[in-house]
């Protein structure tokens, strides 16, 4: 309800001050975001600040578990964007996030990445269980690791019981976040890693081969975002969340490899909010890329 009130207020204010004075937003916004959102949020920050030049956005990236622990310990965050709902739940449990305010703003899928010269000759996910493969995953407790474990376990039905165990025997290192997994593989130190499809884009793409994962076993990663309820930047935090629904923001997310579920209920929260939005654009009008393995090959 508060959200609606603030949006209405902003529309009224906008109408009152007529043209030219579209921007009432000013101040500083601390956004704590999952590592996999790094490139997307850098671009979103730029786009948001272009619209609202008086606003300063400070981005803090780490794995979602670390961010949740920091928020729990009283870190000065205004917004928390997590890579899964478990870590967002910890922020709720700490009392600093209201459950009703949580909104899923994007999804992601998993892929296997190998170095361009593919030293272990990995052609499919099945090859991850081969002898002598140097596999790198993110550390236990991170969202990407939970998704990766579930995805590997799911393959046991295809490749036989014990498949995921054999893959785990190839584990060479557990990195503290997903970008470090990408770096290990891009450097050619590791033979393979499991990351989000959005991580295999950008500058590192030319150093990697991306191997898609069977739709039946792939996991749908959901990114919830919510304002921290005890900070002064409430209006700004809500404006940023509203901005995430805009066509421009969704284009940026799509360009950075994020996708949207075909199941409409999965993105209900963002569609459910009638958003007059600060952007005078229809919400949900962005180019929503469906979360299919095929979307990767199109790129």
């Amino acid at each position: 309800m508060r959200l609606v009130a603030i949006l209405m207020a902003s529309v009224l204010l906008g109408a009152a001050s007529l043209a030219g004075a579209r921007d009432q937003l000013a101040g500083s916004l601390s956004v704590y975001a999952a590592t996999s959102l790094t490139d997307a949020f850098e671009a979103l920050k730029e786009a948001f600040v272009e619209r609202h030049p008086e606003v300063e956005i400070l981005l803090n990236f780490a794995n979602s578990a670390t961010l949740a622990a920091q928020i729990q310990a009283g870190a000065p965050a205004d917004l928390f964007a997590s890579a899964n709902e478990l870590q967002m739940g910890k922020a709720v449990a700490s009392g600093r996030v209201d459950e009703a305010e949580i909104e899923i703003f994007a999804h992601n899928r998993l892929v296997v990445i190998v170095p361009k010269d593919n030293p272990a000759d990995i052609q499919s996910l099945r090859d991850l269980a081969g002898g002598g493969v140097l596999l790198v995953l993110a550390a236990p407790g991170t969202p990407i690791r939970a998704y990766a474990d579930a995805m590997l376990d799911s393959h046991n039905s295809d490749y036989g019981e014990g498949f995921s165990e054999r893959v785990m025997r190839n584990l060479a290192s557990e990195e503290s976040n997903v970008r470090q997994v990408v770096a290990r593989v891009a450097l050619g130190e590791a033979d393979a890693g499991v990351v989000y499809q959005s991580d295999a884009l950008g500058d590192v793409a030319e150093k990697l081969i991306v191997i898609a994962i069977d739709e039946r076993h792939n996991q749908l990663a959901s990114y919830p975002i919510a304002p921290i309820n005890d900070t002064a930047a409430q209006a700004l935090a809500r404006a940023f969340i509203a901005f995430l629904r805009s066509r421009e923001a969704q284009s940026i997310l799509a360009a950075n490899g994020f996708c949207w579920s075909r199941a409409p209920e999965a993105i209900q929260p963002s569609e459910a909010t009638p958003a007059p939005s600060l952007d005078a654009e229809a919400p949900d009008a962005g180019p929503k890329v469906e979360c299919e393995a095929a979307t990767l090959e199109d790129r």
């Binding site: 578990a65 622990a69 310990a73 030293p119 991170t142 060479a172 990195e175 450097l187």
Partner: protein
Amino acid sequence: MKRRPLKTDKLLISAVSAFAFFLLVAPVAVLLLSGFASRAWEGLPDSATILSAAAISFASTSAVVFMAALLGTPLAYALSRYDFRGKRLVSLFIELPIVMPPAVAGLALLLTFGRRGLIGSLLAEAGLIIPFSIAAVILAQFFISAPFYIRSAQVGFSSIAPEIEDAARVDGAYGWLMFWHITLPIAWRALIAGMILSWARALGEFGATILFAGNLQGKTQTMPLLVYSIFERDIDAAIWTGLILILLALIALSLSQWLARAQDKLA
């Protein structure tokens, strides 16, 4: 010439000193207090995890101290006895790892000994892959901690008056014989102090290790890496593991200081 400090001077010096001491000691004291307050030992990770991390830490740091003594002693001796061109530059580069950010050291090691690295690629052709192995842990720790031994040993050798060695030569003691019977018995405290110091530094090494060797329980996960890994899941358990490390470091440091003092008295 010496002006006796006025009372206000003394007060100011004491106050600033107390504040500096507070900044240095408070974090450790708070860590200790919160460790007891939260009964952190109850939240310890399973003992197998700690034991395997402790075993890896013990094995790697032992190897590092051995390597430092074996390779560092001749180097320290050369630096304290011989004059050669570029000696200052050599000393500078030997001590550089002490002040270098460990993460930068890890990156440099990766580019050198990594599978695609300058030397690492040659080793990889021979089937030897260093990253993700205990060899990488040892290399990272050696790079960061050996300079502590070399510096301490160099000071120890320099504290021996050249006349003593000259006299020994007159008596017919040369080379290894002289080193074993004259130099070592005089300088041993400095050498041991340096070994303990480099051992303690190796024990606490984190940045270079995680970048170069990776982090896997039972393989490359040393005690500091374990603290970091469990900190992301359970702060209480991290506190207690951290306290164990601090205790070890404290013992090492006091031993090292005691030996260094004994060497000073000798010189």
